[in-house]
Symmetry: C5
Subunit: 264 residues, 5 copies
């Protein structure tokens, strides 16, 4: 971290990512990220033209505001940040926010957008989903269940991809058995990538214009690409009406890393 | 309510939501919200860049204007406000306006958009519908009718979702009996959510690019999500050409609450 | 009419709508509105941000310019104005212009857009059509012909709706007899609304991206809604590829009324 | 031509359209407009808000720049101008540029967009095509060939329409014989309009998102409308996936006419 | 190169394109451009309105910044530049960037967009792909393999076209043999253009909303057009859901050439 602005921000150069920092009381992040029945909001923003005209000190003041808003809401929310700039079309930063209640997420984003920092932002896209217990997995053979439970490879997974999906009406008209059989084939196609590509599923029907938000973390983008290619070859993919639009590709960053990059 | 701006606004800190305040003569809100033959307009706005640059006192002056415009039209209209910011893509506030004549709604929105407050707004989307007597319900079995008449759970339903729907040409080409049979299946799928998700239907054909505007209120977003999921599994859904685009998700707020939030 | 700005505009407070004012020589409006072989252009505009910042006197000066441009072109054109603001998405005013030659319409709109008033406008959409002799009516039974000839109910029809339509390639591939049979069914479905909803048809193929512009005037929007609903139930509707996008809903206003509303 | 600005521009009031003026050395316009193997670019521009704020003298200075840029490139290019304003949605002027090499067209448009005049413009749309020898005509009966060779009616054809077309994959999958048979039907449907509507075809596959750019000149827009209507009734039209979007309708103008109109 | 600004830039007038200049240590460009497993990003930008207002010296200062940012990242990246202005719709310049890791590409583009030069740019579009070993070629007959290995004609290939492609779900559902047979037909159709049109394929599935990015270089645009026409006639094309949107057409330029053109 650049010492000059770090001093201005009044934070230690050695400070690690905010949510990894035990010194602050915070939402039970682990629970929010693993429990069913949790709401997850993906909110992507692009900087407006004003931001480009700000000089170093003014930027740092605004980034301090960003940091303050995030800290203030960490009691109830798990907040993750991603840098989309350079990799995605019309968005610079992405927030993924988990909470037990959507109105807590709204309070955070209203505060963020209304803050001095937020006035530098244009909303690029907002999507919502809900985590639920696995729908089809209970009926899968034991060996698939076991593989799904095995942990992914340790180590950082810097790349993040977010892909919204809308299924066709024909998909929902299928009976549960037929859908389960196709989801088994889907799951088997995905298993070879289980260790290198971490996945998380959000159910969006009614909360947004899509049915699912799929979220991926990996250190090997080629594996991720091959995973999606495999998933497009199984029968279930023929019931997909929208895949992406947008596809958000970015890199996971701690709040302080984002601040450091944006301060420049 | 923040005392400082409340004093500036010249309103009592204890004032409850405008339309709940018996001190003002107002349109017969109850009748407008329950009668058939009433027009309902959904008008969503986003703040423009000017708004972001306004300081506290200037904002409060503008919000006073908003309040004045709403009060002035309450004689003929039922006006509801929703906060979309943080939950919907390109809109910050949503007005739902009911009236016996569309031109009264136009007068209100022309006054609103032409006011000093309105000059801070960009139109995000405007949709219109008409309330009508239930089309298919008269032919339903008595037990369904009874369940439909039972009141929804008491208590606040803070979340609001607005989803426009366009049916396919094939839907309208079906004879009334076939459509009635499918709507019975649709209604049965929705019944389990009758108590926790309140619904209201607006007929839009010709007034806009959609056939229906569906409006939902709930305190349990997960129930709402499951309701929509159930509705996508019945046969009638296969005759839906557009569902959402936009889906507006927000929270119901009294005018004074909106003002308080926006004043900050 | 507000006396203050009327005095500024130098026009009499009692002046009725421009085109109803016999004091000016004007195009043979009646002929342009009823003859076949006449071009009709629908041009919708939204005010830009500059307009919102203009004070009363500056606005009135600009509206005087609008009035002047319209008067100047009334020799050759029939010009109607509609207020879309509050009822349509991204447009505030709509001009419907009829002329024997499209280049006269272009001259008017170039003058309008290039005027001091026009610099406050953004083009929202422009569509063109041509009036033609009824295509299928000559083959209809006499009683339908008679009903079509009966006048619509007298009295003002303040609401106006403009809906562009594009037919599918399959429609044009049908032979004339089959299309005539379906248009007879279409016409019969529309007859019950003949007295309360006035219709006018413009043929657009090649002049724009649509095949028809349908124009409706009514004082009873619910009747109009039911008319469109009936038309969506006949077979001919299945050959419709685009219906609306945009649907323009507004109110018919005399030029002076529009000026009065916009002056505020 | 208005004498005042003509004097400012330093050109004679009697000067006819630039490309008709033999006093300048210029590209062999006739050859470029009739030979196969020539590239044609359609570039439409809309004026930005700055333009609206320019006063007369500043406008004339900028239009002088436009004239200079056009003159400078006339050695290698055939440049035509059209006024779209008032007749097309989001474009004011259209350039049609023919050259033996696309890079010469790019040089012209880079110079134009980078000039003081070009800084008043926003790109509305750019499309490219290539002229080729007639594909299907050689196999047509002699009487069709003869009619195609007969000249169109003399006299000005002020209206111009540009319609891009994309064929379906099914069209290209047909064998040449079947396509030729359908194109014969297409050509026969068009013949009655041969004298009043002049057509030119550009092949775009790969150079842009469309397969063809069709260009029409006429003095009788109703004939043009009936021509397109006839073409939509033949079988070949069923293999059309995109027709228009945009449809550009405008009037052909000599450079000096455009300058005169824009100077005001 | 114009001597005046070249002196200002402090570079020799004779300097050839940056990446051809052996005086700088640079990424192993040849390897990045030919190896499988390399990431390629296409990032197109348009200048914003500020750029148009910059005078010569200010522009040159900004272009010096562009040059600096590119040089700084040449250690890890192969960076190519193309001029789209005049030939493509809403983009002026295109960067094609190859790297072994996507995060290195992000670092470059974040630096670029955050630089004084980048503040003059709007993102027009960003797409990513991955180079892979040929999928179907190993099973092709030897004579096709031989032709594919023959070098393309020597000499400059100034025109560049970039076309993104999305295949239908039906394509991916075919078994590998059927896809291989169709790709053989596709390859045979392309062979006649092998010498004059150079092709490169990027696999995008999951990284973006498309499946492939196809990149072409040629000096003969007509050959390129005929190549695409041939490819649209083979069966495989029927499994293409999106072709273009956008199609980027431009000319390859050395960094110094781009700077020279933009400095004016």
């Amino acid at each position: 971290m650049n010492t000059q602005w770090a001093r201005l921000l009044g934070i230690g150069v050695l400070a690690v990512s905010l949510w990894a920092n035990g010194a602050f009381a915070a939402a039970d992040r682990e629970k929010l990220l693993t429990d069913p029945g949790v709401y997850g909001t993906f909110a992507a923003y692009a900087f407006n033209d004003d931001w480009g005209k700000k000089e170093g000190a003014a930027r740092i003041a605004l980034l301090t505001v960003l940091k303050g808003v995030v800290e203030q809401h960490r009691e109830k929310l798990a907040i993750d940040l991603y840098l989309l700039r350079g990799l995605s079309d019309h968005a610079d930063i992405l927030f993924r926010v988990h909470a037990g209640e959507m109105r807590d997420i709204q309070r955070f984003l209203v505060d963020l957008q209304g803050s001095a920092f937020g006035k530098q932002l244009k909303v690029s896209g907002i999507m919502h989903g809900l985590t639920k217990k696995a729908n089809y997995v209970p009926g899968f053979p034991d060996e698939i269940k076991a593989e799904l439970k095995s942990p992914s490879d340790p180590g950082a997974k810097p790349y993040v991809v977010v892909i919204p999906i809308r299924k066709s009406a024909d998909w929902w008209a299928l009976d549960q058995d037929k859908r389960a059989a196709m989801m088994k084939e889907h799951t088997e196609a995905a298993l070879p990538y289980h260790k290198t590509v971490k996945r998380k599923l959000y159910h969006s029907t009614g909360l947004d214009d899509v049915d699912f938000i799929t979220y991926f973390e990996t250190s090997k983008l080629e594996d991720f690409h091959n995973l999606i290619l495999s998933l497009e070859k199984v029968k279930e993919f023929q019931y997909t009406r929208r895949f992406g639009h947008p596809t958000w590709l970015g890199t996971a960053k701690a709040l302080d890393e984002i601040i450091e990059i944006l301060a420049q």
